[in-house]
Amino acid sequence: GEYEPLLSAKDLTRVEIGGGDGDSGTGDGSPLPDDLTRNSLELPELSEPELARHYTRLSQMIYGIDSGPYPLGSCTMKYNPKFTEDVAALPSAAVHPDRSEGSVQGNLELLYRLQDYLGRIGGMDAVTLQPPAGAAGEFVGIRVAAAYHEHNGEGHRDEVIVPESAHGTNFATAALGGYDVVSLPSDDEGRVDLEALEAALSENTAALMLTNPNTLGLFERDITEIAELVHDAGGLLYYDGANLNALLGRARPGDMGFDVMHYNVHKTFATPHGGGGPGAGPVGVVDDLAPFLPAPRVRQCEAESTGSEPRYELFEPEHTIGKVHGFHGNWLVLLKAFAYIARLGDEGLADASASAVLNANYLAERIEYDVPYGPFHHEFVASAGEQDAADVAKRMLDYGVHPPTTKWPEIVPEALMTEPTEVESKDTLDRLAAAFNAVAGEDDATLEAAPERTTARRIDQTSAARSPRLSWHHLEDES
């Protein structure tokens, strides 16, 4: 494929600013005095047709969910239904966050209903939609836990326990919240080691953060006992919702004893990943924690009269931790998630999980790489064995499919963490398995030379990091 030049290589136009007296109402000069303005601005100045071609060409150099299977473990790369874009594009959805509550009843009702949907799905009593991403949801969870303990005179609790196979965000979030992170080893079967948990728990435990099924796709069968242990130690149990797509309609975090959880709507509820974001990370909690949730939340007003349409209002939870986003979170993403849930309903959600689990099991059965742990649900972690998992991934690109997540969790050597999701057909899974298996039979030299059939060949990461060139200004000397 041909490369697309940078916009700056096509044009850079310097616009001079100033020459105004700052009082000019209609004059040609700047309407501001020169000491309040910059001198000039130099950026590309291109026509709409040129830009259309630039971005069309860039888009052609991207593998998206409509390009083929995208089995990134832990990322739940589902098909993103097109109609959800249409509802997010409705002009009536485009409102300013400072509008009066009375004039945006549509937004409030929709958010209220989404709070309700998510509460039902997670088995949680109260939900905030404010966190703009999963990690932001985790942060709310940690801040809520801190506020709860503080409120109960347990402000000394300064440790958060995180299994070693957990998502990196769990560690980072606990640290951001000011907690010491206590890492918890897995047992031989890849699950939480109960003895180690008992040893880790103490009067300083604020919370245990857990993903279930865990990153190996395994259900933490001892979850009831784990919950008891944590609660007995005075800690809270946090559910990382990244793997919720495994359990829709089969089990709910609230029923397992979790006190607080986040939902990744860009995973479980099919909102697009957008090349990294935006997502949304709503947080659900049990009743005891509801007073600590971020403000504002949405509630139904008292009915004014029988038969009248219910009205909605914002309110501040009694002991709220305050805000974790400047406004109401990623509204357009929440809107899409609402539409997805409303479309699928009970049956659709349950089938999504059922098909996701069936797909993972079928794919694992079809590939020649070893899958050391099971029984897994929506994802599995194979081992590339003697091969380098990162090289395996590069080589899979040559077979026209997206590779799995690699080298993590570390409990599996040369991990290939694979999550096909429910949207792949048997035919596609067979094709994906064929790609895995073709690579499994290849030698290291071939793998190291990969990819060969992609827009760019293997990219030099070391040089990128050693002498960072982070804008076109850094490339000026070159061309």
Binding site: F83, Y117, G322, D346
Partner: protein, 445 residues
């Protein structure tokens, strides 16, 4: 029903034959057998959420949103309704952009990486700072990240973070959550006539200060006139000077690098997104010194195995998926697609279009203030400062009542004091401003 997709998820493609063949391959009698969920926590699947057809779902959402009133929003204070060119929607909605994941496989993500590299370059040009990441969530969280950056690089010298007393409460609250895990405390410094009270700030600044935050324009729409002095003050106290702004403001106002800013944060989605109930795009730019302490993702230029230009995420050892509890931030999912839209919108405008847009709004806001000032019972602008696109007006009547009456006439304004409303021209066509003047006349008569 004939359909093989008649029940279950409409996005799961399995036919009964496929399902049977797959179960046979895995040696299970039913999908139920694949779930390893203990009985005591099993759920019966009854959420009581009805399934709907695509069409019915669209009708449902449309009917809900139809409950929003249609009003002309003269609202700003950090979120703006600039017109977004159609090109942005059409190109950003291409599914390759919209549906791809973070670019961990750069060889099949060059297009997005290049777009993000161009976004970073836009911010570098706008701020004059050499490092811009490829997105935080919004301005408030970017402010929080700036404070944790200050904490990391200045933590031996103190714990005070100074912010203007008129900072949006939401930004301050978010900031306070971000620093809750540190020993930093957030304190206010005084504001005078809508901009920094330099004497007051000097009085507040001491060696305990690790960060001074200012905004340009301010939340009251005024343009700061003494930013260089703020920068000098920050430098002299070894505090990080963090400046809040946005791409349209930056295209016209003093360049942050020229006033000594160490970090620029803000909401970059004023370009690229229509009003979206506060959904934003956290702008984050800083000096080269802090490169390895920057939160969030960075795209760097590199070469591929054939020595051709290529782009890749770089310096990932700062990030949570590698460094875990020692990461520079917990951020993972960011706002990349919004950054793409912002870059597109800026590209459509070009530098002349961006400057024009800013300059035109300076004039339009000034004109509008002058027209409001002619109304008996209204004084505008309240602050004797230049304004970028919004200003505060004093009304003799209670501001809340004025705003409520205006809303009935189809106009939304901010209430920012008992007798103060705030009015923004950004994105509002001239003829709507004319009608607004008439409406306000009617209300305060």
């Amino acid at each position: 029903m004939h359909g093989s997709h008649a029940t279950g998820s409409p996005y799961a493609p399995h036919t009964e034959e496929d399902r049977t063949a797959m179960l046979e391959a895995v040696g299970a009698d039913s999908v139920e057998d694949l779930f390893d969920v203990p009985d005591e926590v099993a759920f019966d699947g009854r959420f009581d959420i009805d399934a709907r057809s695509e069409r019915e779902t669209r009708r449902l959402v449309r009917s809900l949103l139809a409950r929003n009133d249609e009003v002309t929003e003269l609202l700003g204070r950090g979120h703006y309704g600039y017109y977004v060119p159609s090109l942005v929607d059409h190109l950003a909605d291409r599914s390759e952009f919209l549906t791809s994941y973070t670019q961990y496989q750069p060889e099949v993500s060059q297009g997005f990486l290049q777009a993000l590299f161009e976004y970073q370059s836009l911010l570098v040009e706008l701020t004059g700072l050499p490092i811009a990441n490829c997105s935080m969530y919004d301005a408030a969280t970017a402010l929080g990240e700036a404070a944790t950056l200050a904490d990391r690089i200045r933590d031996t010298t103190g714990h005070r973070v100074l912010v203007p007393e008129l900072l949006r409460e939401e930004r301050r609250s978010t900031l306070e959550n971000y620093v809750a895990g540190t020993d930093l405390v957030v304190e206010s410094y005084p504001v005078e006539d809508g901009t920094v009270d330099l004497a007051g700030l000097e009085a507040a600044a001491d060696e305990e200060v690790v960060m001074i935050y200012a905004e340009n324009p301010t939340v009251r729409g005024t343009i700061e006139e003494r930013l260089e002095a703020v920068g000098d003050l920050a430098e002299s106290t070894d505090a990080l000077f963090v400046l809040g702004s946005d791409p349209i403001a930056l295209s016209l106002l003093e360049r942050p690098a020229d006033v000594g800013a160490d970090v620029v944060i803000g909401d970059a989605s004023v370009l690229g997104l229509p009003t979206s109930y506060g959904m934003g795009l956290g702008l984050f730019a800083t000096r080269e010194d802090y490169l390895r302490q920057v939160p969030g993702r960075l795209v760097g230029a590199s070469e591929d195995a054939t020595d051709r230009r290529a782009y890749t995420l770089t310096l990932q050892t700062r990030e949570q998926h590698i460094r875990r509890e020692r990461a520079t931030s917990n951020i993972c999912t960011n706002q990349a697609w919004v950054a793409l839209r912002t870059a597109m919108h800026a590209a459509v405008l070009g530098p002349s279009g961006m400057v024009d847009l800013a300059e035109r709004d300076v004039r339009r806001a000034r004109d509008l203030a002058a027209r409001l000032d002619e109304i008996v019972g209204v004084k505008a602008p309240v602050h004797d400062r230049h304004h970028l696109r919004e200003f505060v007006a004093r009304v003799d009547q209670p501001a809340r009542a004025v705003a409520s009456d205006l809303e009935k006439r189809g106009f939304a304004v901010h209430v920012v004091g008992d007798h103060e409303i705030q009015v923004c021209v950004a994105g509002v066509p001239d003829e709507r401003l004319d009608r607004f003047v008439a409406a306000l006349e009617g209300v305060v008569r």
